[in-house]
């Protein structure tokens, strides 16, 4: 099978070179040789993480001259290296978006070293100065949107018990849990957020069981950080609990139960990236932003959200959008084991790299990271 693939690859390479040559004359400057590759860990229409990226890719397809190639369900193993190689060698991709967290190290780094002239953009907060210069990571401070979800949840919950169905205790997930809990406690200091880790990004039966267990504990507003929130949203709504969405807007699944949600806004960001390349300035290796930079957004409020909750949430949003911004993780922050994790007097602003290493759950979160 292996030698068969090589000959096929050479054949296709030749074909690709021919079409490229033919197209070069007709197309405008940058677009002619720009093929962009997107790699997803799951299905591209999962109502979640991958769908959000696919919506961003779809926005790129609308730009004339750009070619987008996509591959779904690529596991976080050396399979992703093979996919990257084939996108480069067969499709001529020059800009690659391996979107899943586990693709970065060692797989994407290895590929970036092997193909120094191509550009690799990874979704997550992992790029450091030691990594190749043609690699970069971009991420949105979606915890800002989670903080707002937390405010709405805290003011909607009757029991003061909120639930969070999470995949794995990695920094980005913990940051979302903590932001959600802090948002809720900013309006209801007694609110607790119970977290359940399912162990992996897509475990529908575990997610449904986690949702049911949380509701059995008296939780009446739930949110999640898993790849496809559909299971949690539908099962929680069936039990009569309220939900805050994640990744994309899930209000169509449970119109009465859906309060608001933290959504990605990749369809705004990816065209910006392409413009940066076209203008010759390149994409910064470490690209970040939140609500203000339009990398994340919140879902429109559902019908169950009270006027009081809308007002509190809108006020918080205005703070995030203001020139000074707003720090969710303020000095004097205590974790749920009683340890002070941020010393008093030093607010950690959104861009603080310390937050990318988060390994604690804040006071008010019931659960543990291991």
């Amino acid at each position: 099978m292996d030698f068969g693939r090589i000959s096929r690859r050479h054949l296709l390479q030749g074909g690709a070179a021919l079409t490229l040559g033919a197209a070069a004359g007709a197309r405008p400057a940058f677009a002619a040789d720009t093929t962009i590759g997107f790699i997803y860990v799951g299905s591209r229409d999962d109502y979640g993480y991958n769908q959000a990226h696919a919506q961003g890719a779809a926005a790129l397809k609308k730009i004339p001259g750009l070619k987008v190639v996509e591959e779904e369900k690529v596991p976080e193993t050396d399979a992703v290296e093979k996919t990257i190689e084939s996108m480069i060698n067969l499709d001529g991709a020059t800009l690659l978006f391996p979107t899943s967290f586990g693709y970065y190290n060692p797989h994407m780094i290895k590929m970036a070293n092997k193909y120094p002239k191509l550009r690799f953009e990874h979704c997550g907060g992992l790029w450091t100065d030691k990594d190749p210069k043609n690699a970069g990571s971009y991420f949105g401070y979606i915890d800002e949107a989670q903080y707002i979800s937390g405010i709405v949840a805290g003011l909607t919950s009757k029991s003061g018990k909120l639930g969070f169905v999470a995949a794995k205790p990695i920094p980005q997930v913990l940051r979302n849990i903590n932001a959600f809990a802090l948002g809720a406690r900013s309006v209801n200091p007694k609110a607790t957020t119970q977290v359940i880790f399912t162990g992996d990004w897509s475990m529908p039966v575990k997610e449904a069981e986690a949702t049911n267990s949380l509701i059995d504990q008296g939780v009446d507003v739930l949110t999640c950080h898993v790849d496809g929130p559909k299971t949690m949203v539908e099962n929680a709504a069936r039990r009569g609990a309220f939900v805050c969405g994640y990744h994309t807007n899930q209000s169509a699944l449970a119109p009465k139960a859906y309060l608001t949600g933290a959504e990605w806004n990749w369809e705004a960001l990816y065209p910006k990236f392409v413009k940066m390349i076209a203008a010759g300035e390149g994409i910064p290796n470490f690209y970040r932003g939140g609500l203000k930079e339009e990398i994340v957004k919140t879902s429109p409020y559902g019908e169950a959200v009270s006027a009081e909750a809308r007002k509190a949430a809108d006020e918080a949003k205005a703070k995030f959008l203001s020139a000074d911004g707003f720090a969710i993780f303020k000095g004097g922050l205590v974790d749920n084991k009683g340890k002070t994790v941020i010393p008093a007097g030093t607010d950690r602003g959104q861009k603080d790299p310390e937050l990318e290493k988060m390994d604690y759950l804040v006071e008010g979160v019931l659960g543990a990271t291991s």
């Binding site: 039966v205 008296g218 291991s370």
Partner: protein, 308 residues
């Protein structure tokens, strides 16, 4: 209690609820596989059948508005996949395990391909019967919301047990599984018996799949099965090809799957990876306890390719 919480009672209740909610696909697949293996064939493709069943049930329920038609469609899809397996295995020198693995990949791949447009829409679900009406504890009522398919499965297990022992068909299936020569000497076509047994097995596995997409977790997506079909096939081996033991084993697996999330919800948070692995640890433990180097697997049909 005043705040609607039931504290530590969540754990046994979740295990009970999980045994009812999560076990049904295990139950149907293992009963189906039990019939197939008793006839002397292993169909490892039931993972693919389960996923195809889930997808076709969801699709038909969405298109026709009737979840019961979806269940029927899932069964028919499963029977067709079973017929395919049996048909290929009827050819000389074909290994049923290898065909099963091929069909597992084929079934899941086809289901993902055809199921693409079904991930977003919401299809009508199967109704639940409220067995908790006598209780005013909402958690207990939720745990006792039982689907008819679960009840059918529970009734089916003793019926199969009885049928294997006392009916003509049960005897024929067992004869084909124990000694194909004997079945042939009696004037029966072994291939035909196995074809029917594999089709019935596929039919049941397909219905198990419809439970996943139409009742619990209750929607179609690609991670839906995450290996439950293959677990159920393994479950038949440690249930010693006995339908009644299949029932208990399925209930235990369902309960074990609920254990991890339930323990976390009451604050037992250390080692949740271990609790999430509970079903697999259970499998290993039972295998170790019941296996003996001194004898072969008791109850194993003699014609199975793994025992032959």
């Amino acid at each position: 209690m005043a705040d609607g919480s039931i504290g530590l009672w969540t754990v046994p209740l979740a295990v009970l609820g999980g045994a009812i909610r999560v076990s049904t696909p295990f139950l149907f697949v293992s009963l189906g596989e039990c019939i197939t293996e008793r006839s002397g064939r292993i169909n490892l493709g039931l993972e693919g059948t389960l996923v195809m069943g889930a997808m076709s049930a969801y699709g038909i329920s969405y298109l026709t508005g009737s979840p019961w038609l979806g269940v029927l469609a899932a069964g028919i899809t499963g029977a067709l996949l079973g017929a395919l397996h049996a048909g290929i295995c009827s050819l000389p020198r074909v290994n049923d395990v290898a065909v099963g693995i091929a069909l597992m990949l084929f079934g899941t791949g086809l289901a993902f391909y055809l199921g693409k447009p079904l991930i977003e829409p919401t299809a009508p679900r199967l109704p639940a019967i409220d067995f908790g009406w006598w209780s005013d504890i909402p958690q207990l009522r939720a745990a006792l919301r039982v689907n008819v398919l679960f009840l059918i499965g529970v009734v089916l297990a003793p019926i199969l047990y009885w049928a294997f022992r006392t009916t003509r068909w049960g005897l024929l299936i067992r004869t084909a599984g124990e000694s194909s020569d004997a079945a042939r000497a009696m004037g029966h076509s072994v291939l035909l018996i196995r074809l029917r047994a594999t089709m019935v097995g596929g039919f049941l596995a397909g219905i198990g799949g419809s439970f996943l997409s139409l009742f619990y977790p209750g929607s179609w997506n690609e991670g839906l099965s995450s290996g439950q079909g293959i677990t159920a096939v393994a479950l038949v081996i440690f249930a010693r090809w006995d339908p009644l033991l299949c029932l208990w084993a399925s209930l235990a697996f369902g309960g074990a799957a609920a254990l991890g999330p339930a323990l976390q919800s009451v604050g037992v948070t250390s080692g949740y990876h271990l609790f999430n692995a509970a079903p697999y640890i259970l499998t290993l433990a039972i295998m170790i306890v019941t296996c003996s180097p001194k004898r072969t697997l008791t109850g194993a049909p003699a014609e199975l390719s793994i025992t032959r």
